[in-house]
Symmetry: C2
Subunit: 447 residues, 2 copies
């Protein structure tokens, strides 16, 4: 008899209104923090038991940080919050008419629903790309990429032919937004400072880092000065930036670009786009471009008691006719706004409109190198920008322990250039690559 | 065309004698450290790219430490060592007549061979046990167990029936050696200090921790005073110690003991025994009880130029008629001895016999609770023993960075009782458990 029968959501009945939050990213986290436990029962659903600090995922992928430095268990985060219930599960469906959320462990009635489940990688229907490329949306994604990189370096040590070594070592990064730029910079620093010491038998001049961007600029959306500086810095660091081009196909071995170029690579990193992950059951008229259209109160337009936050929401304003940018700040501000407002809504008090406060944009390129756009669109770069970047990222990490871990790691890495997290703990095995798969199996280093 | 063709071991030819070391555990690590690079070419093979500090695996499993605090990349460890070559692979066969080592990436001639590939879990032929229990020999093992524990706690929150909650939460640890005792103690502290705060909806009085030991004493081999103290401390901490009994069968749901008792449990931890992992091709007459018989120079008796170290070697002495204990110190001392001696052997100089220096034994039970046997078999326990235990373990960690990480974690955990590594990053899915598997898949928290 299975041990796991008799499962229910096990949320106690309550006379308070129940708020169900879907997703423990920035939006859901700040909403839950700002909800008043004495007025509401708060239920948080997530498919992972931790919050991921996505802006630093690229450092986990490039072995600069250990995974748990940027992830915090959600239960621990809220252990002092009263009237709060976390459940690890995936939401399957929403019935907005009956106000029910359906999950793999049963259904639950809500009075208010906060949808903050974010986005997933968008491969625009390219199945080969989805199968063979490395996305960068989650901690398992980042660990898979790290494992792939380390295994590739090991394999390059077994290959004498420089052309083959080059094909093995070359990396293509698709998408020149912050993730692409930051990953390219981190890989370039690994190549220069860390890898040659670790792999004396590999010639890292054979490791080419290609960054492919569809538009005219890297970091599109930032001030032109920042875009240009990112391009100049990366180029100086030996990253081969290819503008105005896309990767039109990738078969696991060769990336073909729309400019006709082909690049042999076993590692293609996909940071080219995301799409909203709309849960089934919501009304089609609420959905636009895979996102939920919200009004100035972050309420899904036309719905009863449903709010949407962060990447899954589209809030059109005069300044942002296509919606707010898909970064942490809008999610944090929307979450805080909705969390604080529900009391007023419950009491039918008048509401102030949500106003997005642009705190500026930051992207780091390398040690002491970053670009910063201030809210007034003034831009600057270099060491000061990098220090601001580091300060802001440490500040927004969720727990004090995460902050300590990241800070110590950064100081260490800054002083030694030795990141030290280069362990292949769970080898990544690409399904199409029979030879690689066979080597891994023969070696049995998967345990 | 596959990227990974044309693979060879890529070890340069040399006019120096070549030493091949199999295994980067304590024995192989200390042998490589002590070999003179100016006199030998040193080649290290391991199936993992890191050294594992096995004595602290149980803290990784119980979420006290992150994995990379106790693992160090082997390439980084030896990056300053000249004439040293690391290769990530599994050795398939040895031909002692031709002095060849065969691997998945090609074969290599050796002048001296140091076999230090250690032991694996021994299930004594019980296939069900091997399939359903959680061993504790490697970092992936420890992470699987951690993931299983955290998932079980999550699931217990979904179950209202106290009997079912008890079945889910109960843990059986088989084997009362240091690993079993230390794991039981750590789980008991988690239950008391950490879990109730994280899982307010779970009644942890339903979590029973059973420690099953075949003999009369826990920590067999230590002084009787230490054995008794471990028993008394664990019992006081609420661990249900079952002496003079074995688990005779386990089907993934119920453990049946030789004393007739049955315990429903989804988590059975196997720390009951190991067996040597003898590589094919070695002469049968060299092998005894799955280990390689070595003489007082750690040389495999009857072989030409083959040495064996640590858990895979059996060195019988008057004091240890069944061989040295299977812990870190014999491996470290044998590795150091062989590494230093190869020069003398090469020059046909006379050798001193290897002498094992017993530095005593330590085991920790909980915060401020440990037992310590001094080399003279005097034993004591309590806070002082615990402080010595902590000091010794920090000292023998391989890298300075590992030491810093473990030290900071311990200070943190000591002060806060909050271990913080309770992330389910790669969910463990038990193959037999259709319901659990289905829940995990539905939830898609595997990504």
């Amino acid at each position: 008899m299975p041990l796991f029968s008799g499962i229910s959501l096990n949320i106690p009945d309550t006379d308070k209104p129940r708020v169900v939050i879907i997703g423990g990213g920035f939006g859901g986290l700040y909403a839950a923090h700002n909800l008043d436990s004495s007025k509401f029962q708060i239920v948080l659903f997530d498919k992972r038991n931790y919050h991921t600090f996505q802006p630093l995922l690229y450092q986990v992928a490039t072995a600069g940080l250990q995974a748990d430095a940027i992830a915090g268990p959600l239960r621990t985060t809220f252990k002092k919050k009263k009237n709060f219930f976390f459940r690890l599960l995936r939401v399957q469906k929403i019935d907005p008419d009956e106000k029910l959320v359906f999950t793999s462990s049963g259904s639950l009635h809500y009075d208010y629903l906060i949808i903050a489940n974010g986005c997933r990688s968008n491969f625009y229907g390219d199945e080969m790309m989805e199968k063979f490329s490395f996305p960068m949306k989650s901690i398992p994604d980042a660990l898979n990429l790290r494992s792939q990189l380390m295994q590739t370096f090991e394999m390059a040590g077994l290959v004498k032919d420089p052309a083959k070594q080059r094909d093995l070592l070359s990396i293509v990064i698709v998408g020149g937004g912050p993730t692409g730029v930051e990953t390219a910079g981190a890989l370039s620093e690994l190549r220069k400072h860390v890898l040659p010491k670790d792999y004396p038998d590999v010639d890292f001049s054979n490791m080419h880092i290609h960054l492919v961007q569809s538009g005219n600029f890297l970091l599109a959306g930032m001030a032109e000065k920042s875009c240009k500086r990112a391009y100049a810095d990366l180029t100086k660091m030996g990253v081969e930036v290819i503008l105005n081009s896309k990767v039109s196909s990738y078969d696991g071995y060769t990336a073909t670009l729309t400019n006709g170029q082909t690049i042999a690579t076993s590692t293609l990193i996909w940071s080219a786009g995301v799409k909203g992950d709309v849960i089934p059951g919501l009304k089609p008229e609420w959905i636009d471009h895979n996102k939920l259209v919200v009004d100035n109160h972050c309420k899904v337009v036309g719905s009863d008691g449903i709010f949407a936050l962060g990447d899954i929401a589209i809030l059109r304003t005069d300044k942002y006719p296509n919606g707010l940018p898909g970064v942490a700040q809008p999610a944090i501000q929307m979450g805080t706004y909705v969390g604080k407002n529900l009391c007023k809504i419950q009491n039918n008090e008048p509401l102030k409109d949500f106003k997005y406060f642009d705190k500026g944009s930051l992207a780091t390129i390398g040690k002491g190198k970053a670009v910063c756009d201030l809210p007034n669109k003034k831009a600057f770069g270099g060491l000061l920008a990098w220090m601001i970047w580091a300060f802001v990222h440490i500040t927004f990490l969720v727990s004090f322990k995460n902050r300590v871990k990241v800070f110590i790691n950064w100081v260490w890495n800054y002083l030694t250039y030795d990141t030290g997290n280069r362990l292949i703990i769970r080898p990544y095995i690409r399904t199409n690559d029979r030879v690689a798969e066979k080597i891994v199996k023969d070696n049995e280093y998967s345990s």
